[in-house]
């Protein structure tokens, strides 16, 4: 592990290889700088939580990893964003391939207006799988992985939008799992859900992280403490550009923060 990046690694937990790395990354929306010089390593097969006050650029940072910010006109990224050591912002990189490997779950559940089955089969179909049996297998596997199968196995033909909010969010997770990504980005995936549904998603994250690299943005400090192995704390500077204040193993960061601002934030003194 890069010692500069995880200054608080107190040796209590062993971190895996780096899966994603941002190196001196800045992001601009037009003239406005949303992120300033962020360097952070994201460990493989672990949950990394990103916390920080509203508007500090957490979502913007997350969307760097599947190049979702590309969709917004006038954005500019500098620095390096690497997936398995390859800079995904290089010219010859296929964005579609990046997005296949780096899936995303959004803040508000956004199932497609089609059946549960078709929601999950959407990705595989777009990637050329036509065989009905194969699709059925993928759909079942993904729904099981997302801990949704038992609840929807008799409703595969029902519209995805007819499910409850928590089920919809797990459907969206299944939809991402169906394309077998390596990384799953989650932007406040529980903020529209009740506590029970939230717990289900958290359990799910803990299970999934044995196979997937997960990054979750959350406003809920307890959630970050419960689910994540590593936590990164973002803050904004005077010009509202987001910076990384501190990152490290979750237990260390919450019990023994190195920076005063981190301590103030996690003890609820502001934000």
């Amino acid at each position: 592990m890069n010692a500069d990046v995880f200054p608080t690694n107190n040796g209590s937990s062993h971190l895996n290889e780096t899966k994603l790395r941002s190196q001196d990354v800045s992001l601009f929306y037009g003239k406005f700088q949303a992120l300033r010089s962020i360097s952070l390593d994201i460990p493989e097969r672990a949950v990394t939580a990103i916390i920080g006050p509203s508007g500090c650029g957490k979502s913007s940072y997350l969307r760097l990893f599947n190049r979702m910010n590309d969709l917004i006109p006038d954005t500019r990224t500098t620095g390096h964003v690497e997936l398995d050591g390859i800079d995904i912002y290089q010219r010859d990189v296929d964005v579609v391939d990046v997005r296949k490997r780096v899936g995303m779950v959004f803040q508000r559940p956004n199932p497609f207006p089609m059946s549960v089955f078709e929601n999950v089969a959407f990705g595989p179909r777009r990637h050329g799988i036509r065989n009905r049996e194969e699709l059925s297998d993928i759909v079942e596997r993904s729904l099981r992985q997302a801990a949704l199968w038992d609840e929807v196995k008799d409703k595969l033909a029902h519209p995805g939008l007819a499910l409850s909010g928590g089920q919809q969010q797990r459907l969206c997770i299944a939809r991402v799992l169906a394309v077998e990504p390596e990384v799953i980005l989650m932007d406040e995936p529980c903020s529209a859900l009740d506590p029970v549904a939230t717990l289900k998603i958290e359990d799910l994250m803990r299970t999934l992280c044995s196979e997937y690299t997960i990054i979750i943005v959350t406003h809920n400090m307890q959630q970050a403490a419960r689910v994540s192995d590593v936590t990164a704390f973002f803050m904004m500077e005077d010009d509202r550009a987001g910076v990384l204040v501190e990152a490290g193993p979750t237990s260390g960061l919450f019990t023994n923060p190195k920076q005063k601002t981190t301590e103030d934030y996690i003890t609820g003194r502001f934000g």
Binding site: G103, N110, R175, V176
Partner: protein, 284 residues
């Protein structure tokens, strides 16, 4: 005291609004009722399915109905694909630069060009330059040019109304931009696009000036058998019958007008029904 005044204000506002509505609705109702009374005597099965005789003073208006029907089809066959493609391009691919802004301005202005100007344009381009002659084809293309403003605008609005979350959800599982358009955006905006198309057709059905110079004829023996044939159309038939045929029975004129109005209104009604059904689906 205060409450009394508030109640009076409420009352007044209500009366004012009701009166305004009445002012708007009355002429429409009046026209329809008047036409129905005047045209009813001419309406018969015979009138609808037979050809005109004696310079239209007897017989029916069947060829004009068919001609108008062909025109509507022809218009939409050309205007819809171009409208949808342009709508997709403008919303999904074009970036906000001077070219896009110019195109948008052009579309806005297209809607404001007087219809006779489209007619002259069609005469110059389709009839003469492309040598389609005075024909159904030339007229359809001319009306399609005029309808473009509407099909592009409605397509674009329908496409823009598709929530960003759905597009992002699709792209986030590695779908390409075109796959996202094809499987998410278009299905979601289809009803809006169709509504626009139906309205464009109903407008094409009512146009007189543009087709006047590119191929409509008052009397054509037989129905058009090829796109290069001349044709009859309801609005043009009405215009000529009213203005240029001495001794034309009033009932035939009003009957023709009634049929034209029925065609246009029923298409508008279809558009309204599609829109309502979509809205109900969206909010239930």
């Amino acid at each position: 005291m205060n409450m009394v005044r508030r109640r009076i204000t409420q009352r007044l506002a209500f009366i004012l609004l009701a009166a305004t509505t009445l002012v708007v609705v009355t002429p429409v109702l009046f026209i329809i009722i008047y036409m129905a009374i005047e045209g009813a005597p001419a309406l018969s099965w015979e009138f609808l399915i037979s050809a005109p005789r004696m310079a239209g003073k007897e017989g029916g208006i069947f060829p004009a109905i068919i001609g108008t029907f062909y025109l509507m089809i022809g218009t939409i066959v050309f205007a819809l694909p171009v409208g949808v493609l342009a709508g997709i391009y403008l919303t999904e691919y074009a970036t906000d630069n001077w070219l896009t802004r110019t195109i948008n301005l052009a579309i806005l202005n297209l809607a404001g060009v007087p219809s006779i100007v489209f007619g002259l344009f069609g005469l110059g381009i389709f009839v003469m330059l492309f040598q389609f002659g005075m024909s159904l084809l030339a007229a359809s293309l001319t009306l399609a040019c005029q309808a473009l403003a509407m099909t592009i605008t409605t397509s674009r609005e329908a496409i823009l109304a598709v929530p960003r979350e759905l597009r992002e959800g699709s792209l986030a599982v590695g779908a390409t931009r075109w796959q996202t358009i094809r499987h998410i955006v278009l299905p979601q905006s289809l009803s809006g696009i169709v509504t626009g198309a139906v309205l464009a057709m109903s407008r094409a059905a009512g146009e007189t000036a543009p087709i006047l110079v590119v191929g409509a004829a008052f009397l054509v023996p037989g129905l058009p058998t090829s796109p290069l044939d001349r044709f009859m159309a309801l609005p043009y038939h009405l215009y000529t019958a009213a203005a240029h045929v001495p001794g034309m029975p009033k009932s035939i004129m009003w009957g023709t007008a009634l049929v034209l109005l029925a065609v246009v209104l029923s298409f508008n009604l279809i558009a309204i029904i599609i829109r309502l059904r979509v809205r109900r689906r969206r909010y239930s």
